[in-house]
Each structure stands twice: as structure tokens, then as C-alpha cells.
């Protein structure tokens, strides 16, 4: 019973939060800062790339991409370490 009440209260709280987020969202095409327009207007001139998304990912926010690459490296390293054939296990 208590469990059901707790689950219901959690769901209601999440519903209120999502509803509040939905009604306070900004209308389409009105960015909250001037940065969006800055990137659209200056990315071709500053980075030379016609693809503004690539300009953001690899130039303006290159540090984030470095983190992404690090995550992929760690994932591949962990999987290869766990699943590789070991010579000392081959005799088992």
C-alpha cells in the first residue's frame, strides 16, 4: 500500500515537472541567447566549414568531442580486455 502511494506520488511529481517544462518552453525560433545566431552567421567565416554542426562539434565545442572520443576509447578497451582470448586459458 505504502509502496503504491510512493510510486503514485513520484509519478505525479514527475508529471507536474514535465508539464511545467512543457508550458514554459520557449517558442520555436526564439533562442534564449544570441549564441545561436552568432554561430549561424560566423561559423563559415571563422571555421571555413559549410556544415555548421561539424563546426560546433569539432571547433567551438571540441573539448566535448574529446570527452566523447575518450568514452569510446574506454568502452572499446574494456570490452577487448574482457573478451579477448588469453593464452593461459586456451588449455582449459
Amino acid at each position: 500500500m505504502l509502496r503504491k502511494v510512493a510510486i503514485g506520488l513520484t509519478l505525479i511529481a514527475f508529471g507536474v515537472m514535465f508539464f511545467a517544462a512543457a508550458v514554459t518552453i520557449r517558442p520555436f525560433g526564439e533562442p534564449p541567447s544570441a549564441m545561436d545566431d552568432y554561430i549561424i552567421e560566423h561559423s563559415q567565416q571563422e571555421t571555413g566549414a559549410n556544415n555548421a554542426v561539424s563546426a560546433v562539434v569539432f571547433d567551438y565545442r571540441g573539448y566535448d568531442t574529446l570527452g566523447e572520443a575518450t568514452i569510446l576509447f574506454a568502452a572499446a578497451t574494456a570490452v577487448v580486455m574482457l573478451f579477448r582470448k588469453r593464452k593461459d586459458e586456451a588449455s582449459d
Binding site: N50, N51, F58, A75, V79, F83
Partner: protein
């Protein structure tokens, strides 16, 4: 897998791998980039593994080659990031230089490949990383599961 699957995989795999490389190489012009193209390429490798088995794919694609490719991509990426350190980390120092240095006019202008500064090179580096990383994950897991199946 059956002969139908293998024939279709033989037909489709070159197109999938070529499309992945295209998405990587044109990351600074068209939608996509290193991550997306690398994922496409690795899905082609996964199709080969499903169709022909991990043991057969491993004859052509060794695990240590993949780890070398991944480390090389990572080093190239971080090296390019450090190369711009005279101004800032990740500074695009190749804009205006003879290498990938065209500065396009404002607005849509398709087809100018020689643009973007370090962005195409970083796309290639990240593409190498993603190709090798995802292919190594799929290949090593498939090898482990197929070996387990033989033991049982």
C-alpha cells in the same frame, strides 16, 4: 548463415563501407561526420560477421590492427587539438592556410571540399577511432560468443 544471406551481404557490404567512408570524408560539408560514418562502417563489419562468422572475418581483420588504428586516430585527434595551442586548445589554425583553407562565402555553397581547416582532418581521426572501436567491440564479442558455443 544461409547462402541467400551471404550473397546479399556480399552485394551490400562494399556499398555500406563506401558510404561510411563518404560520410566521414564529407563531414564538413554534408550532414554526418566521424562518429556517424564510423558507425555506418562498423555496421557493415557487423553484417559481415553475421553472414560469414566471426572466425572468417578475423582472418582479415585482426584485433591488434584495430587497436592500432584506434590509438592512431586518438593520437591524431589530440595532436590536432594540441597543434592549435599557440592560440587556444582546439583552435582551428588551418583556416586560410593552403591546406583545407578556403573560406566559403556566407550562405549555402555546396561542393567546396577544400574548406574547414582542421575539421576534415579531425573527422578522419574520429572516423578511424570509431571504425576501429566499434568494429573491435563487435568482433571481439562475436568471437567470444562463438568460442563459447563450440565449447558447449
Amino acid at each position: 548463415m544461409s547462402k541467400i544471406v551471404r550473397t546479399v551481404a556480399k552485394l551490400l557490404t562494399p556499398a555500406i563501407l563506401l558510404f561510411g567512408l563518404y560520410v566521414i570524408m564529407h563531414g564538413h560539408i554534408t550532414p554526418g561526420g566521424g562518429f556517424q560514418g564510423g558507425a555506418v562502417f562498423a555496421s557493415g563489419v557487423a553484417l559481415l560477421i553475421v553472414a560469414f562468422g566471426a572466425g572468417r572475418v578475423e582472418q582479415f581483420l585482426k584485433e591488434h590492427q584495430l587497436s592500432m588504428l584506434e590509438s592512431g586516430g586518438g593520437l591524431l585527434f589530440i595532436g590536432l587539438a594540441f597543434a592549435g595551442l599557440a592560440t587556444a586548445f582546439f583552435y582551428n589554425f588551418l583556416v586560410g592556410s593552403p591546406i583545407f583553407g578556403h573560406v566559403p562565402a556566407f550562405g549555402p555553397n555546396p561542393g567546396d571540399i577544400w574548406t574547414g581547416g582542421t575539421i576534415p582532418l579531425m573527422n578522419v581521426a574520429v572516423g578511424m577511432k570509431v571504425i576501429a572501436g566499434l568494429s573491435a567491440i563487435v568482433l571481439v564479442m562475436a568471437l567470444a560468443s562463438s568460442k563459447q558455443g563450440e565449447d558447449e
